[in-house]
């Protein structure tokens, strides 16, 4: 969590500056952008854990920036800052997956609390994403034959049946099976099924 950064996008310098000051006072590293365009150009989601977007900005509005983030399949939680009268816009954004919206003038520490919550959610998401990526990598290490054998194992076929179907010796099937288990880091067929299903789901 210590390496996670909060991105603040607002065209009002005072708001940007004061929010960063506030976040730093709670020990959260923050990075600020003065427009949606600058943010979209310079932003990478490796370290980003939360994005705070002002709805009403010069140039690209907050909602437009959010739409582009969705298009990029960025999964960093977004919190909208809204002024008076922008609530319907923010609600729409909420429906399409924004994390929350906070109306100005906001209760500052409550906002920070929401940001921390969002960062935690992001962390969890990143870990999940990381695990999935690992499974994918391991699955990629399997040979074609091993993949075939694995599918039949997952289908619940016995070694003999697999050997008959693939026209190979039972002994060979057993070797493949052992290699699959080794490559994917599982110890039984049940664990294997759990891993693969989680990856696919």
């Amino acid at each position: 969590m210590s390496d996670g950064i909060v991105h603040v996008v607002d065209d009002d310098a005072a708001i940007r500056d004061s929010l960063c000051w506030l976040l730093r006072s709670r020990g959260l590293p923050a990075h600020h952008w003065d427009s949606g365009e600058a943010f979209l150009a310079g932003f990478t989601d490796d370290t980003a854990r939360c994005i705070v977007l002002d709805v009403r900005m010069e140039g690209l509005s907050g909602v437009e920036v959010f739409d582009q983030l969705l298009a990029r399949r960025c999964r960093v939680p977004v919190i909208f800052l809204t002024g008076h009268g922008d609530v319907p816009l923010a609600v729409t954004a909420l429906k399409s997956g924004a994390f929350d919206f906070v109306e100005k003038p906001f209760n500052d520490n409550q906002l920070v609390d929401r940001i921390i919550e969002a960062m935690k959610v992001c962390e969890v998401r990143l870990q999940e994403q990381h695990a999935e990526a690992e499974v994918a990598v391991r699955l990629g290490q399997l040979t074609t034959r091993e993949r075939q054998v694995m599918e039949r194992v997952l289908a619940g076929e016995l070694n003999k049946q697999i050997a008959d179907a693939l026209d190979i010796a039972i002994r060979t099937v057993e070797v493949h099976r052992a290699r699959i288990f080794e490559k994917l880091g599982v110890r039984s067929a049940v664990e294997l099924a759990g891993l693969v299903l989680k990856h696919k789901g």
Partner: protein
């Protein structure tokens, strides 16, 4: 067209019930033409038959008279003819006797000429028509003649061949015989042969010669000749002798013929009546009768034509009347006429329907009329007086009237002088239009527009408020963030004052930024500076009242003013002051919405108090609770359903611009008085 006549007409018309007067479409008009009754034709026929019978009877009696006269003429004619005939016969017979006597005297034998003449001297003049007497001897030779002639007895027979048979007959039978008439020297004559005997033997013949004309001349008296044309004719009807040269026209019914025998030989006595005089008279009478009959016929015919024409005119008049009545009954516009004293002399059904009173209750009524609202009597009377002034504009006057059931309605009245046929003014004719609906629709539109405008204002205001809110949000949010951050640092104790200081400075800057925004808004509002001019306070008040009066009338409220006589002049923006007054007047009207109609009065006063002028707007409304009075001038506070809570704020702002002030007090008689004061000296 006298007023009496009109009221009589109206009275008869209004006698029928109202519903009838409006009538169904299928019914004939009440005054539709009636076809002439069937007895009419019979009357004419009887008149004609009577005239024909009268003329026929007259002509018949005339003809009968003519007939009887003719009969009478004929009778007298026959009488006269017989008398003439007998006279002639008597004379002839007497002559024969005398001729026989003469012959007897000549019996002595030879009588010479001289003797014969002597003897016949007295005979000739006394015997009518006897021209000559001749004595013939037994041989028929002339012996003597009287009067004498140059003829001498020559021994030759004297009798001519024509008379020979009769001469012979006389000699043979020994009785006198007449010869035929024959022409001698241009005159019809006839002879009578009287034989005489001596000693039993024929001794000779005395011949009397008669002139037919002389007979008539001697024997037909003048009075007879005057009446009749007397002629002697032969058997063939040829006239042998006539008494007069004047011939009658020979009508058979006025002619009588009698045979003259003697002398016989087919001689006829013909008597014809002249009868001209009576004919003329009768013809004249007939002509007069016919003329009179024609005159009677003509006069009857012309009378009939006159009556026909009259009836046609009457029918046309009836139709016209019925048409006018139908027209007037189907009018939607109410019509009413009043005489010069203001009494109603005519109303049409539409008018009755409009005001809800039947015509019988309205006719003859002097003002004020029952359909004038009680509190409007003076106002309506004055409006009517103005409209009837000579040279008054022709535009209709708007009045508020009340129906019988108490419902009020707005009406437009056009008043015009009622001029009768002689060109005198008999009163006033008014046409009345019910414009309640029209006004209501107009009012609806106005309210709609007002609402729209108010909504638009609200939207604009909302936009502005939103913009200001957003503008203010930014610095306020920033300040809050800085300060919260500072607090966080102070609580955790992780930072020194040197580090926190800049953040606080930034927060202070943001606070200044917020202040700038507020000043900008102020500056924006201040752009609408008043345009001052020198105005009289009463003029401003009166103009504002005139502006509000329409609405007041609609809400049955009255605005009175009690203005100070000083009427001070002050420097102010009249439009803005009027805005203040209008706002106060509207508030007063709204406050009196539940006040009884009679007490809805607003009094506007102005008075000078030291260096200020005080203007008061007092209502008779519901008054104010202390809580309301406390909140009176706070923005967005309103006791009205649709109120924005800006009116009094605006008033206060305007008055503050004029260095005046506004306040409210409870009115002594209930309700509230709003006062505002303005300084008199120049600002």
């Amino acid at each position: 067209l006298s007023s009496g006549a009109v009221s009589r007409i109206v009275a008869t018309e209004s006698a029928q019930p109202l519903a009838d007067a409006r009538g169904g479409a299928g019914e004939p008009w009440p005054g539709a033409p009636i076809p002439p009754p069937p007895s009419h034709r019979w009357q004419w026929l009887t008149a004609r038959v009577a005239i024909a019978l009268f003329v026929a009877t007259l002509l018949g009696s005339l003809w009968m008279l003519h007939r009887s006269e003719l009969e009478e003429d004929r009778g007298s004619l026959i009488r006269d003819a017989l008398w003439v005939e007998q006279n002639i016969q008597f004379n002839l017979e007497r002559d024969i006797e005398q001729l026989r006597d003469l012959a007897a005297d000549s019996r002595g034998g030879v009588v010479d000429q001289h003797q014969f003449e002597t003897r016949t001297r007295h005979l000739l003049p006394s015997s009518a028509g006897l021209l000559r007497v001749v004595l013939l001897d037994v041989d028929g030779a002339l012996r003597a003649s009287a009067p004498g002639s140059n003829e001498q007895s020559s021994g030759v027979p004297w009798v001519d061949a024509e008379s020979e048979p009769d001469y012979r007959l006389a000699r043979s039978v020994g009785r006198p015989a007449y010869g035929p008439a024959h022409l001698v020297a241009g005159e019809q004559q006839l002879e009578v042969f009287v034989p005489f005997y001596r000693d039993g033997a024929l001794a000779g013949t005395v011949v009397g010669i008669y002139g037919l004309k002389a007979i008539l001349a001697g024997l037909v008296p003048w009075w007879l000749a005057e009446k009749h044309w007397v002629t002697i004719r032969d058997a063939a009807g040829n006239v042998l002798a006539a008494k007069s040269n004047v011939e009658a026209d020979g009508r058979p019914e006025l002619t009588h013929q009698a045979a003259l025998d003697p002398p016989g030989h087919g001689l006829l006595l013909n008597v014809e009546s002249y009868g001209t005089k009576t004919l003329l008279l009768r013809n004249l009478l007939a002509v007069v009768i016919l003329g009179l009959a024609a005159a009677v016929t003509w006069s009857v015919w012309s009378m009939r034509r006159h009556i026909q024409r009259r009836m046609d005119t009457e029918r046309a008049l009836q139709e016209e009347h019925a048409f006018r009545k139908a027209m007037e009954d189907s009018l939607v516009t109410g019509m009413r006429a009043v005489d010069l004293e203001g009494r109603i002399i005519y109303v049409n059904p539409a008018f009755c329907q409009m005001v809800g009173y039947p015509a019988s209750e309205l006719l003859g009524r002097p003002g004020p009329q029952p359909y004038w609202p009680v509190e409007e009597h003076d106002h309506i009377a004055e409006a009517l007086r103005n409209a009837r002034r000579p040279g008054a504009p022709r535009a209709g006057i708007e009045l508020e009237l009340v129906r019988r059931d108490g419902e009020r309605f707005e009406a437009l009245l056009y008043e015009a002088p009622l001029i009768d046929a002689q060109g005198h003014q008999a009163g006033w004719m008014g046409s009345l239009l019910d414009i309640t609906e029209r006004k209501r629709a107009r009012e609806q539109v106005r309210l709609q527009e007002e609402k729209l405008a108010a909504t638009a204002r609200l939207v604009t205001m909302g936009e502005m408020a939103s913009a200001i809110a957003h503008e203010l949000n930014q610095p306020l949010s920033a300040i809050a963030s800085y300060l919260t951050g500072c607090l966080n640092f102070l609580e955790s104790g992780g930072k020194s004052t040197e580090e926190i200081g800049p953040a606080l400075k930034k927060a202070a800057q943001q606070a200044q930024r917020a202040g700038h925004i507020i000043r900008r808004v102020h500056a924006f509002v201040r752009k609408s500076e008043p345009t001052r001019s020198r105005v009289r306070i009463n003029a401003v008040i009166e103009e504002a009242i005139a502006f509000a009066e329409g609405e007041a009338r609609k809400r049955r409220m009255r605005v009175r003013s009690r203005l100070c006589e000083a009427n001070p002049e002050l420097e102010a923006d009249p439009l803005l002051l009027q805005q203040v007054l209008l706002n106060l007047l509207r508030n007063a009207m709204d406050a009196m919405a539940d006040t009884p109609a009679g007490q809805r009065e607003i009094v506007v006063t102005s008075e000078v108090a030291g260096a200020m002028v005080h203007v008061g707007v007092a209502d008779h409304g519901c008054g104010m609770s202390p809580e309301v009075q406390g909140l009176l001038f706070s923005a967005f506070f309103s006791t009205k359903k649709d109120g924005m809570g800006m009116g009094l704020n605006i008033c206060r702002s305007i008055l503050e611009l004029h260095r005046g002030r506004v306040w409210a007090e409870p009115a002594p008689h209930g309700g509230t008085v709003f006062f505002f004061s303005l300084p008199l000296e120049a600002i």
